[in-house]
C-alpha cells in the first residue's frame, strides 16, 4: 500500500514536472523504466476472481514496470459482452481480456483484436493444442485461456452398490453407446429400489438416475462427431445436423430420457446449478460435464472418479476453451503479450492445480516435469485416472474443433436455430429427425460460411 502510494506520488510529481517543462531536468529516481499500465478483464466465480487477482498481484510485484489492473466482470448472461462492447465502442477497450467465442471471431474481423502471429510464430499448432488456437481469417487471435475436455464423472459408491464396473478412463476401452445405456439402466433406481431393467420399474418415481448429460451442445455434439456426423458442411453454407449419423446419435440422446428412462428430462435438471450436487445427494450415478468441474467434485467429500465418454464409431470428445485476446486498441502490445502468457501459466495460476483449468500447451501434457505443475502437483485436485481420462484424452482424442471455431454467425445459429429445436427434442415434442430438419431449415438464412 505504501509503495503503491509512493509510486503514485512519484508519478504525480513526474506529471507536474512534465507540465512545467522541467522533465529533462528531473531525474527519475525510483524506476529505471517507463511504467506501463494494462487492464485485464475477466469473468468467473468469486473463487476464480480471488485466484486471478492473487496471480495478478504476484505479477505486479515482480514487474514494477508493467502494472496490470484486474477488472472482474460478473458474468450473468451476456453482461460481460455488453460491458466489453460498450468499452470498445467508446475506445476504452481493455488491453487483455477473456472473450466469448462468437464475439472474438466477429471482433477479430472488425480489426478490434490484435493479430498475434508476430509473437506466436507461424506454427502455433506445434506448441498448442489445436482446439485452443483461435484464428479468424488472417488474424491469429491467440490461444484460449486454458482447456477443458468433456468427460464422465461418476460416484463410485453408487456403482459399487449396483455392481456395475466403473466407466473406463482409457479412450481405447471406452464403452459403446449400447454398453453405456445398459449400465445406466442398472444404475437407475426407482423409489422401491428396482432398477430400470426390471419390468416392474416405475419410471415416474425415479430416485436415482443413471446419468445426466448437459443439454447445451457440449452434451450432445461429441456423440454426433463420434458417430461420424458434422455440425455443418465443408463450406459452412448449410447445417448437417439432420444427417443420418447426427440424427441417430441425437435420437439415442432423447431415448435416454423417454425410452430408457435413465436420464432426467431437461426441465428436471436445467434449473439445478450443478451435476456434482446431484451426485453428492446420489440423485445420479454418472454426470457428463467439463473437466473444469474437477474443482467442484474434489470438494464434495464423495468417492468419485472420471472416465471417458461412450463412443459410437470412434472414441472422441471435444475440448472447450475460452479465447483470451489482446485488444488492438492497446498501446503496449509487447508488454500485454508478456502478461498474456503469464496468466495461462500453470506455475503461476492456482486454478490449474485446483482443477478448474487444464493447460493449453502440449508440453504440459507430455513432459513429466510440467505435469507436476498441475495434474501431478502436490495436493492437486485430480484423481489418479486423470492421466488417462484428462491428459491422454485431451491430447489424443479430441481431433476436431468445436462448432464455434467453424462457422460465422454461430451465436445466432445456435440461439435461434439449434437450441430451440434441441429443446423440443429434449422435451419430447419432436423426434430427432423432425427437430433437426427444422433446425437446418431455420438456420439456412443465417449461414455465412466458415472462418
Amino acid at each position: 500500500m505504501t509503495t503503491f502510494s509512493r509510486r503514485k506520488a512519484l508519478a504525480l510529481a513526474g506529471a507536474v514536472a512534465l507540465a512545467t517543462g522541467l522533465a529533462a531536468a528531473t531525474p527519475v529516481l525510483a524506476q529505471d523504466c517507463e511504467k506501463v499500465d494494462l487492464t485485464f478483464t475477466f469473468w468467473g466465480s468469486v473463487n476464480e476472481k480471488n485466484d486471478i487477482e492473487a496471480a495478478v498481484k504476484n505479477w505486479n510485484e515482480k514487474n514494477p514496470c508493467i502494472q496490470v489492473k484486474p477488472m472482474h466482470i460478473p458474468a450473468t448472461g451476456t453482461n460481460y459482452v455488453q460491458k466489453l462492447t460498450t468499452m470498445i465502442a467508446s475506445n476504452t477497450a481493455p488491453d487483455i481480456g477473456y472473450l466469448g467465442e462468437s464475439q472474438a471471431f466477429q471482433w477479430a474481423t472488425e480489426g478490434k483484436i490484435l493479430d498475434l502471429s508476430p509473437y506466436m510464430g507461424e506454427t502455433p499448432d506445434q506448441q498448442y493444442i489445436k482446439s485452443t488456437i483461435y484464428k479468424a481469417g488472417d488474424t491469429l487471435m491467440g490461444t484460449g485461456l486454458a482447456t477443458g475436455v468433456m468427460l464422465i464423472y461418476y460416484n463410485k459408491d453408487v456403482f459399487d452398490a449396483a455392481g456395475v464396473p466403473y466407466p473406463p478412463a482409457k479412450a481405447d476401452e471406452a464403452w459403446t453407446w449400447q454398453q453405456f445405456v445398459d449400465n445406466a439402466k442398472l444404475l437407475t433406481k426407482d423409489r422401491s429400489g428396482k432398477n430400470a431393467t426390471d419390468p416392474a420399474f416405475d419410471p415416474n418415481a425415479i430416485d436415482t438416475f443413471g446419468v445426466t448429460l448437459p443439454s447445451w451442445w457440449g452434451g450432445w455434439y461429441p456423440f454426433v462427431m463420434s458417430n461420424g456426423g458434422q455440425f455443418a458442411n465443408e463450406d459452412g453454407t448449410a447445417l448437417t445436423l439432420n444427417s443420418p449419423e447426427a440424427v441417430e446419435a441425437l435420437q439415442a440422446f432423447q431415448d435416454l430420457i423417454y425410452k430408457d428412462h435413465v436420464m432426467p428430462n431437461p426441465t428436471q435438471t436445467s434449473s439445478l446449478p450443478t451435476g456434482d450436487v446431484l451426485m453428492q445427494s446420489r440423485k445420479v450415478a454418472m454426470s457428463m460435464d467439463g473437466m473444469w468441474r474437477v474443482t467442484d467434485f474434489s470438494k464434495l467429500g464423495i468417492n468419485w472418479g472420471v472416465g471417458v465418454l461412450p463412443k459410437w464409431k470412434t472414441a472422441e470428445t471435444v475440448v472447450l476453451s475460452v479465447p483470451k485476446v489482446i485488444f488492438s486498441q492497446t498501446k503496449h502490445p509487447k508488454e500485454a503479450y508478456e502478461f498474456y502468457k503469464y496468466i495461462s501459466d500453470p506455475a503461476q495460476v492456482g486454478l490449474f492445480k485446483s482443477g478448474l483449468w487444464a493447460p493449453h500447451e502440449k508440453a504440459y501434457f507430455t513432459d513429466p516435469e510440467l505435469l507436476k505443475t498441475w495434474v501431478l502437483a502436490e495436493g492437486s485436485a485430480y484423481p489418479p485416472e486423470a492421466m488417462d481420462a484428462i491428459v491422454d484424452y485431451t491430447l489424443n482424442h479430441a481431433p476436431q474443433q468445436a462448432p464455434v471455431y467453424q462457422l460465422k454467425n454461430i451465436g445466432q445459429i445456435m440461439s435461434e436455430a439449434v437450441e430451440p429445436n434441441i429443446q423440443q427434442l429434449m422435451n419430447n415434442k419432436a423426434t430427432a429427425q423432425e427437430a433437426m430438419d427444422k433446425a437446418v431449415a431455420t438456420a439456412q438464412p443465417m449461414m455465412q460460411g466458415r472462418w
Binding site: A89, Q412, S415
Partner: protein, 324 residues
C-alpha cells in the same frame, strides 16, 4: 432572467397597441403571468436538460444506427430501411417475441393491477397489524432481483421446487412451470403478481385520498360495499388507475430480467420477450443496427398504445383538482 422579466414586462405593457397579433398578446401579458412562465421554465429546466442530453440525443443516435449495419465495435454502413424490412418480412422471431410480450402484458397488467387494488383495499381497513401487513406485502419488491429470480427458479423447479411439493400434497400432478413452452408465460405472470408492492402503495395512497364524506353519504343512503366500490371508490381512483395502468403496461412490455436470468428466452422461444431479444441481438449477435431498429419498433408500439390510453382517458379519468 428573473430580474429582467419584470421591468421588461412593464415596458411591454406600456407599448402602444396596433402591433402584430403575437406582440400584442405578449404586450397584454401581466408581470405576474410573465413571472409564472419564467419560473415554470426554470423549474422544468433540469428535466428538459436531462431529456435533451440523456434521452433525445441517444434516441436520435439510435435512429441513425437503426438505418445502418453497425456492429457496435466496427464501422457503420448505411442500409436505409433494410433493418425494418427484415424485421417485418424476414424474421419470424420478431413476430414470435411480439406475441410472447403481448400475451404477457395482456395477462399480467390486469392481474397485477387487480391484485394490487385488492391488497390496497384490504390495507385501507382499520385492522390490527396494519404496518406489518403493509411491510410484508411490500417486501417482495425490495428483494434484489438476482436473489428473487433465483428463489423463483427454485420454487418453480418441477422436482425440487416448493410449488410441486405443495400441489403434490393435494394429489395434483407435477407441472413444468417455466420449463414448459406453454406454462412459462403464465408462470412469469404469477411471479410478477408477487411484486405488486409499489403499485399497491400507490393505490393505497389514492384510496386514502377519497373523501370520507362520500362514503358517509352513501352509508346514509344505505349503499352496500359493492355499490360504494363501483360508484365512489373506482371513479375517485381513476387517476391512480391510469397511472398504474401506464406504468405497468410499459414495464410489462419491457420485461427483461426474467428471461435474462431465468429462462434465456426458452423453452423453444416460449419466453422470448422483446427487450430480451433486442439485448441478445445487440450484444450476443453484435447486430446493433438491427437491435436499434427493433427497439424503435417497440418504442412505436408502446407509444401508440399509450396514446390510445391517454386519448380514451378523458372519458374515464376524473381529476378532482379540475385544472384546465
Amino acid at each position: 432572467m428573473t430580474n429582467s422579466s419584470s421591468p421588461d414586462g412593464v415596458m411591454l405593457t406600456e407599448r402602444p397597441s396596433g402591433r402584430s397579433a403575437t406582440t400584442g398578446a405578449r404586450a397584454r401579458m401581466s408581470p405576474r403571468r410573465r413571472s409564472e412562465i419564467t419560473w415554470a421554465l426554470t423549474f422544468v429546466a433540469p428535466a428538459v436538460l436531462g431529456f435533451v442530453l440523456l434521452k433525445a440525443m441517444p434516441i436520435l443516435f439510435s435512429l441513425y444506427i437503426a438505418m445502418t449495419d453497425w456492429s457496435a465495435v466496427g464501422n457503420a454502413h448505411w442500409v436505409g430501411l433494410d433493418n425494418f424490412e427484415k424485421m417485418l418480412f424476414a424474421d419470424p422471431l420478431f413476430w414470435r417475441s411480439l406475441e410472447v410480450t403481448a400475451y404477457y402484458t395482456l395477462v399480467s397488467v390486469p392481474a397485477s393491477m387487480a391484485f394490487a387494488f385488492f391488497l390496497a383495499t384490504l390495507l385501507n381497513q382499520r385492522i390490527p397489524g396494519l404496518g406489518i401487513f403493509r411491510t410484508i406485502f411490500y417486501i417482495p419488491s425490495i428483494v434484489p432481483i438476482i436473489a428473487s429470480t433465483v428463489i423463483w427458479l427454485w420454487m418453480f423447479n418441477p422436482d425440487f421446487g416448493l410449488f410441486n411439493s405443495v400441489l403434490g400434497a393435494f394429489g395434483i400432478p407435477k407441472m413444468q412451470y417455466i420449463f414448459s413452452e406453454e406454462q412459462v408465460v403464465p408462470s412469469l405472470v404469477f411471479m410478477s403478481i408477487w411484486g405488486v408492492g409499489p403499485m399497491m402503495i400507490i393505490f393505497l395512497a389514492g384510496l386514502q385520498e377519497v373523501p370520507k364524506e362520500l362514503y358517509e353519504a352513501a352509508d346514509i343512503d344505505g349503499s352496500n360495499a359493492w355499490h360504494k366500490l363501483v360508484h365512489i371508490t373506482l371513479p375517485m381512483m381513476t387517476p391512480t388507475i391510469l397511472f398504474n395502468l401506464m406504468i405497468s403496461m410499459v414495464a410489462a412490455f419491457q420485461t427483461f430480467v426474467q428471461p435474462f436470468i431465468m429462462t434465456n428466452g426458452g423453452p423453444n422461444n416460449g419466453s422470448l420477450f422483446f427487450v430480451f431479444w433486442i439485448y441478445r441481438k445487440a450484444f450476443q449477435d453484435s447486430q446493433m443496427g438491427y437491435a436499434s431498429a427493433l427497439a424503435w419498433a417497440l418504442f412505436i408500439i408502446i407509444s401508440v398504445l399509450s396514446y390510445l390510453i391517454f386519448r380514451t382517458s378523458n372519458r374515464w379519468v376524473f381529476y378532482r383538482g379540475g385544472d384546465n
